[in-house]
Assembly symmetry: C2
Homo-oligomer: 345 residues x 2
């Protein structure tokens, strides 16, 4: 294979890696291809492992996010992966490549933010390294967690007919990013809330294990790239399709108002903005009412049903007022019959 | 605390991190401060976790090492940490920040080298991510392993009177680095061997668990920074000192000849060159002969006794022909009585 990483794209390369290494996994373990790897854990439990990197100039700009928020967020994105498998986080490992000119106070603030979420989530920092480098700040975090063996939830567990639900409102983080990129006033109250959700996403640590404890809940993953891309991950693993009703996608009041003010399409942000770090789950349709009621009871917030799993392999479709639409370059277009099915953009 | 990372130094910052996060570890677990963290593992075993990063421009230059060797080495340094605790490696996680212009063939070769050592060591790549970046190549590897609970070997287990041993010859990797830095002929046979040991260090995967299975073997760690710095790590953890006899430090024929040719001090390379990735162990002196004989029997190579653990806290001393010497800027100097004890350079 020739060409550069830019041409092949990130997902293409990870798939290639998986093929090279996919042989001979012991029964009950899982490698590349879900939110976490699943290993044998203590006392018959499953040990979950996830790793995620955050790179200056790619995932963040130093001028845009405080180091304290960056520390918080670089742990949050990993905790979200553990929650998405139905597990609870336990240990974290932190590796940093840091320009030698970096002020110690910057690193201290980073660690304060990291520590804050360690405390909130019961996660312990157990190791790592710090290396002086010549390049941009590079943060690589690995988190280990555990889940009862029977409660690990995989992307592949979705079944046609399942209801598709999300555990939180979508698009706020994407809205916050737009506030940054378009240099909009950060102290305007709605903008400030969107920015906060972009910089300090709340991983759904309690929601994940709670949902995984319900047999009616089948596939789970976290919303890191946006439901458009993330639904396709479930569709690929479970050999199914997903239909989403745009009217059902939950949008916060803050995002709704900011969208009206700046002419954004909030449903586009919900579909492709990413970094919301709530959970996307599929639920046995016959027990959906029980699960949503119990969820509301437990968390005081709704579990939002946004669509349905279909038997059309790898086809993500969107509907608005009963009509198929697709996410084009300029927002939502009517989906024309002569276009190739399965393409959403 | 003010200042930059350059002023504080890498070890200072890691110590600071440890203090912030050191609270409330469950019994039988171990966090920051040894080659690996120790967690609860399956079936009552100990789960070992280590993470190490390799950064372009800091740890390697693209022009100097093939991507295949780099892939091999970035796993090797982690396997060495698992061996140093007495464990066997099982799963690896690989995160890479890669310039978008990087040729896919470069990454493929990297993975071939990584895969080669996975195969040799029975380690499975179970996850990771690849991110296009603007900066130098950044590779962060996390490896998990297991060890029987009673066989985990810590740096703190050294006791005054123990013999200090190494499982391989020292300084070859440092010699290889000099070949690179001084632009010496790479095809000269001795130089080529030194370079190979610098680029493809062999982690002592079999030696680690074997040694940890002997009750006479006490502290263990791997030689990553050179015995000068690494002995101090044991001295700090075990509240002891270490005396090293330079005549006993094993030097390869290749390094000996290259040193004669280029005017190097091979014992300086052995002490501070680093990256040899053999093991530094302390052994009950009364059972040293048994252990070294059995080691020779099992591995067909000697276990080299190079010194002794003392009761002088954090004091590393070197002796040549019975006289105390110290590693100065221009090699080994006589150690004068009016200098502060414990200082080695």
């Amino acid at each position: 294979m020739s060409g550069s990483l830019r041409e092949l794209g990130e997902f293409g390369f990870i798939d290639r890696v998986a093929g090279l290494f996919a042989s001979h996994l012991p029964e009950g373990t899982l490698g590349i291809g879900d939110d976490c790897a699943v290993l044998e854990g203590p006392g018959g439990a499953a040990r979950l492992v996830t790793t995620d990197s955050v790179i200056e100039g790619v995932h963040f700009l130093r001028s845009a996010i405080s180091s304290r928020d960056l520390g918080y967020k670089s742990l949050a994105v990993n905790l979200s992966d553990i929650a998405a498998m139905g597990g609870r986080p336990q240990e974290a490992f932190l590796s940093m490549g840091v320009s030698k000119d970096t002020e110690i106070s910057y690193l201290e603030q980073f660690l304060q933010g990291f520590h804050e979420l360690c405390d909130e989530s019961g996660t312990r920092l157990m190791g790592g390294d710090t290396t002086g480098s010549t390049g941009p700040l590079f943060v690589s975090v690995t988190v280990l967690g555990t889940a009862p063996r029977g409660q690990v939830r995989l992307r592949s567990m979705a079944r046609p007919g399942d209801a598709v639900c999300v555990t939180g409102r979508l698009g706020d983080s994407g809205g916050g990013l737009r506030v940054l990129l378009d240099d909009l006033p950060r102290d305007e109250p709605d903008n400030a809330r969107l920015l906060e959700r972009h910089h300090r996403p709340r991983p759904h640590i309690e929601e994940g294990p709670w949902l995984a404890g319900r047999p009616a809940v089948r596939a789970m993953m976290d919303v890191s790239d946006g439901i458009d891309s993330d639904s396709m991950r479930i569709a690929e693993r479970a050999e199914c399709g997903i239909d989403i009703n745009l009217e059902s996608v939950p949008i916060s009041d803050e995002l709704g108002r900011a969208a009206a003010r700046y002419g954004w399409d909030p449903y586009e942000m919900a579909a492709s903005g990413g970094e919301d770090y709530c959970l996307l789950v599929t639920v046995d349709p016959e027990r959906l009412a029980d699960v949503t009621l119990a969820f509301q009871d437990r968390f005081g917030r709704p579990l939002f049903a946004v669509g349905r799993v279909t038997d059309a392999p790898r086809r993500i479709r969107y509907f608005r007022e009963g009509e198929a639409v697709r996410l084009g370059r300029h927002g939502w277009d009517h989906f024309r019959g002569d276009e190739e099915e399965g393409e959403t953009r």
